[in-house]
Symmetry: C2
C-alpha cells in the first residue's frame, strides 16, 4: 500500500531529535532490533515491512523496498522499520555501578556503550546534555535492542556527580593504573568525549582518575577508542577480584 | 597540479585487494594516520595533500579537494593521502600472546583489534585467509597508525593452530567463564566471525573455550561485538593477576 504524505513526513521527521522530542516517538530499524524492542514491551506506534506481514503484529504495513529506503535513516535499511513511543522518564539510579558519559558524540560508540551496559547489568547511564541522543536511529541500531533495557538520563553532569553519594572514577589517558586502584562496588564511571576526553568542568568533580596502562614498548600508540576503553574499564569494575 | 590518468588509475586501483597485491602498495588516508606511518619508518611511495605541502616531505603533490575526493576510498576523506609499500612478510611469532582471527570481516572491527593489539604489545596477529585484508583503506584508517607496528599473517588458521606449541583459547558465547580459567602467558587467543563465531573447523583445534559472563539478569542481550569482546579478553590475558 502507498503511504500518505503525512506518514512519510512523520517518519522522516523522526531522523531529527527536535521532532522526536516533539512527538515522543523514535525509529528502530532492522528486523532484529525491532523484534527485540517488541519483546521487551516497548509501546509500538506503527510498523512497516517489506517482509511477509504475517510474521509481524496485526496492523503492520506492507511497503516496497523503494518506500522503505526513502524512510530509512541508515545506509543499509533492513526489511523492517518500527516507530515506538519513547518511554517515560524515570529517576536515575545511583546504587551499584553507574556509567556517566561526558559528550560522547559518535552514535556507534554510544550504541556500543549501551549494549555493554546491558551485558554487565548496568541499568542507568547518565549523560551530559551534549552527549549524542540515544534515540538517534543509528544509536538505536547499534544497541541491537539493548536500548529497551538501559535507561539514559540527560542532565547537568557536573551537578549530578557533585551530589552523588558514591565515589566518582574517570577514565583518562595517563593517570593511575586501573589495576592498582581500589574499585568500589557502588560507583560512577565517567567516560569522556572521543577527541577531548573528560571536560575540565567535569574533571573537577572526579575523585579517582584511572587509566588502562599501555603494554606496548611504543609510546606513540593512539589512545584506545572510548567504546573499547569503556569495555575494559567496566569489566574491571564488574569482574570478580583476586583471581 | 593535475594528476595524470595513470596516477589516478594507480590510486583508485588500490581500493581493491587484487591490485594492492599486484603492486605491493596500499593507501593510507587522513593526516594523522599518514603522519604515524611516516614516523614509523614505512616506505613511502607518494603523498598527496590539499594542505600546505611545506608541512610534508619533499615531493608531496598538491591536489584540490575535488581531486582528493575522487581518489579516496572513504566517505570523509581527510586532507592527505599516502601511498606506502606493503612491508615484506615475516614469520609469525609464537611467543607471548598471539591474537588469531577466524573470518573477522568488518573493516572497523579489524582496525580496532589491530589498535588494541598495539596497545597491549601484541606484535603478531594470525588470520584465516577469509579475514578482511589489513591493507583495506578502511582498516588502515581504523588502526590510527597501529598497522605500522602490528604484523598480520594470513594463513591456514587450523594448520597454524594445530602446530602451535602454546595453548589455544577461543572466545565463545556460552562456555567457561574467563574469570575462572587459568590463562597462560604464552598463548593464542582466537576470535571468530561477527555472525558465526569461530568456525567448526577451527573449533576442533581449540584447547580452552572461554566466555565473558553476562551480568544482566536479562538473557536476551545480543552477544558483544567481536572488537568489544576482544578488548575484554585481551585485557584478561594481559592484566596483572590477583588484584
Amino acid at each position: 500500500m502507498l503511504l500518505s504524505k503525512a506518514q512519510i513526513k512523520l517518519i522522516t521527521g523522526l531522523h531529527q531529535k527536535k521532532y522526536r522530542n516533539k512527538t515522543g516517538l523514535f525509529l528502530a530499524e532492522g528486523p532484529k532490533v525491532v523484534r527485540e524492542l517488541l519483546n521487551s514491551g516497548l509501546q509500538l506506534h506503527s510498523l512497516l515491512t517489506t517482509d511477509d506481514i504475517s510474521k509481524w503484529p496485526n496492523g503492520t504495513l506492507q511497503v516496497s523496498d523503494t518506500e522503505l529506503k526513502k524512510l530509512s535513516a541508515l545506509k543499509n535499511p533492513g526489511t523492517t522499520l518500527g516507530i515506538f513511543y519513547i518511554p517515560d522518564p524515570v529517576e536515575a539510579r545511583v546504587d551499584g555501578l553507574v556509567l556517566a558519559l561526558d559528550a560522547v558524540r559518535d552514535p556507534g560508540n554510544l550504541g556500543t556503550l549501551i549494549r555493554l551496559a546491558d551485558w554487565y547489568g548496568i541499568s542507568s547511564i547518565v549523560c551530559s546534555e551534549d552527549t549524542a541522543d540515544c534515540f538517534n536511529p543509528k544509536v538505536v541500531q547499534a544497541t541491537m535492542g539493548s536500548i529497551a533495557r538501559v535507561r539514559l538520563h540527560y542532565l547537568n553532569l557536573r551537578e549530578f556527580l557533585n551530589h552523588c553519594p558514591n565515589p566518582v572514577y574517570g577514565g583518562y589517558m595517563d593517570s593511575d593504573s586501573v589495576y592498582s586502584t581500589t574499585l568500589s562496588e557502588n560507583a560512577v564511571l565517567v567516560l569522556g568525549n572521543e577527541g577531548q576526553g573528560i571536560s575540565d568542568e567535569v574533571s573537577q568533580v572526579i575523585d579517582h582518575r584511572i587509566s588502562i596502562p599501555r603494554f606496548g614498548e611504543n609510546g606513540t600508540t593512539e589512545s584506545l577508542n572510548v567504546a573499547t576503553a569503556g569495555a575494559i574499564l567496566i569489566n574491571e569494575f564488574r569482574r570478580p577480584t583476586g583471581r
